[in-house]
Amino acid sequence: MGDILLDVHHVSKTFPVKGGMFSRSKGFVHAVDDVSFQVERGETFGLVGESGCGKSTLSRALLQLISADSGEILFEGRDLRAMKGRELQTQRSRMRMVFQKPFTSLDPRRTVREIIAAPIRVHDRRIGAAELEKQVLELMDKVGLSPTYIDRYPHEFSGGQRQRIGIARAIALDPELIICDEPVSALDVSIQAQILNLLKDLQQKQNLTYIFISHNLSVVNHMSDRIAVMYLGSIVEIAKADALYERAMHPYTQALLSAIPDPSIAGKRRRIILTGDIPSPVNPPKGCRFSTRCAHATERCRAERPRLLDVEEGYKVACFLYESKGGLK
């Protein structure tokens, strides 16, 4: 492992669920359940999973937008959860986020200038208007927005352009880590390609580290160096991107891969159709979370939860099928 930028240890987050006005508390959503992983400086770490897997909650917990119930989140060795006040604010300039919905993540009442300038102003209250404008224009140029757009409002732009504004806002403070939460899901294919290329270019120019979150494995695979697959709050597999595609050890990963509508492999793979729906993250199954839909589930799977173990160098799986290989150094 190279220089580790972000080190996540056993992070969990649970939300209580209440029914409507007339019912009692319905239970707890185990949104993130004992998640651990590490992100190297300069890499793109992909996080893939379907609804209810907890990836969005996890991203917010990493940024301290919500507070995790337990665990440690170490950024360059310092525990984020222990930071407060000034230190936290400075930290926030080093970890930023690009959001999923370009249509709702920008304040419709503010111009492009104001949106991009906002984080700069927060961290440097005394910055002058001319200097501010210079920085905003530089950022717009980096993301491919024409300077004539600076005083326009979000509704005047297309989805792809709005996402560029969001990216400009994210890189405004020259961060080290950017969490991209489904940045292209709402965009057309041809625009998606433009934005993904932009993200890659920026990564090189600005020495960025990405955590790239998406439910679309093709996109994650394209962007990431390493990928973690999440299911119902836990990580089930972590590996290098091409290794994951070639080996796909965890039954869920296999099903996910086989389900992707990808014309390059259409008709060339065996389709694994999972039975049933994703169980609700409220009161999840005992034992392995995937046991209710897994073709290989045994009694042990239903009773005990497998841990994430190394099956070979840089490849971890949480599944009893591979336990005999586990613990390899």
Partner: protein
């Protein structure tokens, strides 16, 4: 030819207010046969949804069909009265939409809504309708039909709701089904299940399906033929395999190259420069000319018409020829 299930010729659909009128669909033609699936692929602004709504005559207030012919089993749909059209909707031609949560009414149970569909078109008793509803729910792969029957849509997952919608659509054994982005709002594994279901149902009912989507991968999965639309016009039409592996229109080729593919890792994705033109400011000549790598002067002057460049392969482009004969390659 005359026994096509659905034939659309030269369809034109416009949005208009008192001052101006804009064509959202222009010169569109396609056919669907029994038991076959036609995929209509396009990005936003391509007009694919408006095209299907035109056939169903469900256009929003400011829209209307301004020209063309729509023939369903020999009947001219555009000339029917609203009353006659209602007899066909949900009965002979059904439609399912993208977001099942939005398309189902949240204050009525699923069972009620299925029964409502049945009772609208058939004169039976409530008891028989309920029985049919339960059977339909079971046939679309719902494990506990009685429970889902009594549930409200918000109590069910997206996948369940979409199955319920399909059950509603199938209740009168339609001959043709429009599916507008039926899996876009769903998780990938659920998407696979739903597509599987559609295939199964099609075989059973010998239904024709028109699948509208922006996702070429989905189309690869279940469509026999594909039409690619751009800015309101069809750009290319051919069997699925041809479209995916030997596309001749620059737009289609660009679209395919722009998709990240698992089997081929690349550093950069091919991306088509620019954006879809605004409906109010269509470029002159070929609509794709402003973004096309192969555009020449003539492309911006004259709009191309659909040509059959090889058997069963139609392209709207001045310059396109089949790939094997030296046609465009992109990326």
């Amino acid at each position: 030819m005359s026994d096509s299930l659905l034939r659309v010729e030269d369809l034109k659909m416009v949005f208009e207010n008192k001052l101006r009128s804009f064509a959202a669909v222009d010169n569109l033609g396609f056919q669907v046969e029994r038991g076959q699936t036609l995929g209509i692929v396009g990005e936003s602004g391509s007009g694919k949804t408006m095209a299907s709504l035109s056939v169903m005559r469900l256009l929003p207030n400011q829209g209307r069909v301004a020209g063309g012919r729509v023939t369903f089993e020999g009947r001219d749909l555009l000339s029917l009265t609203e009353k006659e059209m209602r007899k066909i909707r949900g009965n002979e031609i059904a439609m399912i939409f993208q977001d099942p949560m939005m398309s189902l009414d949240q204050v009525y149970t699923v069972g009620y809504q299925i029964m409502e569909a049945i009772l609208t078109h058939e004169k039976t008793t409530k008891a028989i309708a309920k029985q049919r509803a339960l059977e339909l729910l079971a046939s679309v792969g719902i494990p506990h039909p009685e429970r889902v029957f009594a549930s409200y849509p918000f109590e069910l997952s997206g996948g369940m709701c979409q199955r319920a919608m399909i059950a509603i659509a199938l209740c009168c054994r339609p001959k043709l089904l429009f599916a507008d982005e039926p899996t876009t709002a769903l998780d990938v594994t659920v998407q696979a299940q739903i597509l599987d279901l559609l295939r199964q149902v099609q075989a059973e009912y010998k239904m024709g399906i028109v699948l509208i989507t922006h996702d070429l991968g989905v189309v690869a999965d279940i469509a026999n033929r594909v039409i690619v639309m751009y800015a309101g016009k069809s750009m290319e039409g051919a069997p699925t395999d041809t479209i995916l592996n030997r596309p001749s229109h620059p737009y289609t080729a660009g679209l395919i190259r722009a998709m990240p593919k698992l089997a081929e890792r690349t550093e950069r994705l091919y991306s088509i420069d620019g954006m879809v033109p605004d409906i109010r400011e269509m470029p002159s000549g070929c609509r794709f000319s402003t973004r096309c790598l192969f555009a020449e002067a003539g492309c911006r002057e004259e709009e191309p018409v659909i040509r059959e460049i090889e058997p069963d392969h139609y392209v709207r482009c001045h310059r396109a020829i089949p790939q094997e004969k030296g046609g465009f390659r992109v990326g």
